[in-house]
Amino acid sequence: MIMPLGNFNRQFFRGIAVVTEKNIRIYYTKPPVIIFGFLFPLFMFLAFYLGKEVDFYIFFPGLLAMFLFFIASSVGPLITPWEKQAGTYERLLSFPVSTNTIILGDSAAGMIFGIMINVVVLAVGLITLNYSLNILVLCLGMLLGAFCFSALGVLLASPSVPNPSYVMMFSSIIRFPLIFISGIFIPLEDLHGFGRMLSYFSPITYLVDIFNFSLRGQSNIALIVDFVALIIFSLIFVYLANRSHKRNLMRGL
């Protein structure tokens, strides 16, 4: 897949970079991104943990994954519907870009947003809790997780009629179950049988496991399986996003 950096590849990566920059400039400050990306996981955290006797040492890796999931996947679902509504989408497509350029640029924007805020959450955790950190695994996990979740976000944008609020609702319907079936609220080691099986269908599960490994040195799934699973989920999301964006290209133009 990786050829010598010919003209085409240079144009491809440049396109992704420019789309990413555009997204960061325009969409990071839009209220729904802040509400759905940042305030949502915060409230969920408060609702589930506040006033209960929880051992944050155990739950923090899951929390970290949840924040990353929500934030990274909050940007993607909004960009395309917004662009269609504002009439900028057709313009964007007329530049020397392909559907993949746009999808990867949108993913990168979600990824960067997710990592930025996640690093802050991580810092709070590292200061207040006493972890022995495996930084390489943690960083790799965070990068891959952020990409995987933001690609999911972009996929969720694709049935886009030009109506951001509709897409936001639709994307929440998909995103919430993925949180609940993952090992965030119930640690993976306490999940058995059907619950355990179900958790394997959520990409978040694998990131929680990676975070557990890199912070607490404890994991329930082989690390290599975690990474491979996240890569496979990412590829599936990008592939489906490409197909679905192409199919829905003209909708709402």
Binding site: F8, E21, R25, R91, L93, F95, P96
Partner: protein, 311 residues
């Protein structure tokens, strides 16, 4: 001006269906280097669908598009590097400033940032927007937005510029300014492909005009050539107080074709002035009283009727 005969756009048997609707139906044509080519047709004729296929936005069901020899389906990025596009509904980013919009566009074509700054400033000066360069576009009027839109589309000096109904919905001043820009671009060597539903615009702007209706090309000619067709579609509508044998009027040889509309007659002519004078005399001679008498100019609608009948 001598136009080179090398074709920068070559279209063969291009077709696109949306469900049961055939939006574009096996059209073929060529656009020569350095000409202004207009696609003229009423709403729903297939203009936008055609331009979207030419610019690689949608994939045709069948047929070929060559942009400067490059097949847009096989090599879309390479073809897109050569063109600038101003889509019909295409807006710029209203959250960005005028200058940011132009720079963003330029970056897609790989122009260096330092160079882009100067180019953006030059373009903004050219459009008289220097003072508003750093204002968000959402504070701009529709005409100003369209100017920034064009500036963003030509920042990479494309050889070929596509504009889909560039003046639709703009006030007269903005329309004139856009037309001036198009002419200037063309004089500096840019080939222009534009669509319009406005005959007069096609007339004053284009070297050649293709008429599209119902997804088919009805005619391609110079405006003068087409005008001859339009002239024949001028008509005079008349009715008298009593029934008249219209074939007597046809003896004047001024009537090309006649059509009965209720109690009225529509007489097609290429010289309404002469026909009206003849009719006045005719009424006088036969002691008739006019109840209707109206000159109808050439309309695009009529031209289409004419053009489709001729085929």
């Amino acid at each position: 001006m001598e136009k080179e005969s090398i074709k920068v756009i070559e279209v063969r048997e291009l077709t696109k269906k949306f469900g049961d609707v055939t939006a574009v139906d096996h059209i073929s044509f060529g656009v020569r280097k350095r000409e202004i080519f207009g696609f003229l047709g009423p709403n729903g004729a297939g203009k936008t669908t055609t331009i979207r296929m030419l610019t690689g936005l949608i994939t045709p069901d069948s047929g070929d598009v060559l942009i400067d020899g490059v097949d847009i389906r096989k090599n879309p990025i390479k073809a897109k590097m050569k063109i600038g596009v101003i889509p019909e509904m295409g807006n710029i980013y209203v959250d960005l400033t005028a200058k940011q919009n132009i720079i963003l566009a330029g970056r897609f074509y790989g122009i260096a940032r330092s160079e882009l700054e100067n180019m953006a400033d030059a373009l903004l000066a050219k459009f008289g927007l220097s003072k508003r360069a750093d204002d968000p576009v959402k504070t701009f009027s529709k005409g100003m937005k369209q100017q920034v839109n064009i500036a963003s589309a030509i920042v990479h000096s494309p050889e070929l510029l596509f504009l889909d109904e560039p003046t639709a919905g703009l006030d007269v001043q903005s329309q004139r300014m856009i037309k001036t820009i198009i002419r200037e671009m063309n004089q500096r060597g840019t080939t222009i492909f534009l669509t319009t539903h406005n005959i007069e615009e096609a007339n004053v702007l284009c070297d050649r005009v293709g008429i599209i209706n119902g997804g088919e090309i009805a005619a391609i000619d110079t405006p003068e050539g087409l005008k001859r067709t339009f002239e024949e579609t001028q008509s005079v509508e008349i009715s008298f107080d009593k029934t008249v044998d219209v074939s007597k009027i046809e003896e004047s040889r001024l009537v090309i074709r006649k059509e009965k509309l209720g109690d009225k007659w529509r007489l097609y002519t290429d010289n309404p002035d002469k026909l009206v004078k003849y009719l006045a005399q005719f009424a006088q001679d036969h002691n008739l009283i006019f109840s209707t008498m109206e000159i109808c100019g050439a309309s695009l609608e009529d031209a289409f009727v004419k053009l489709t009948e001729d085929r």
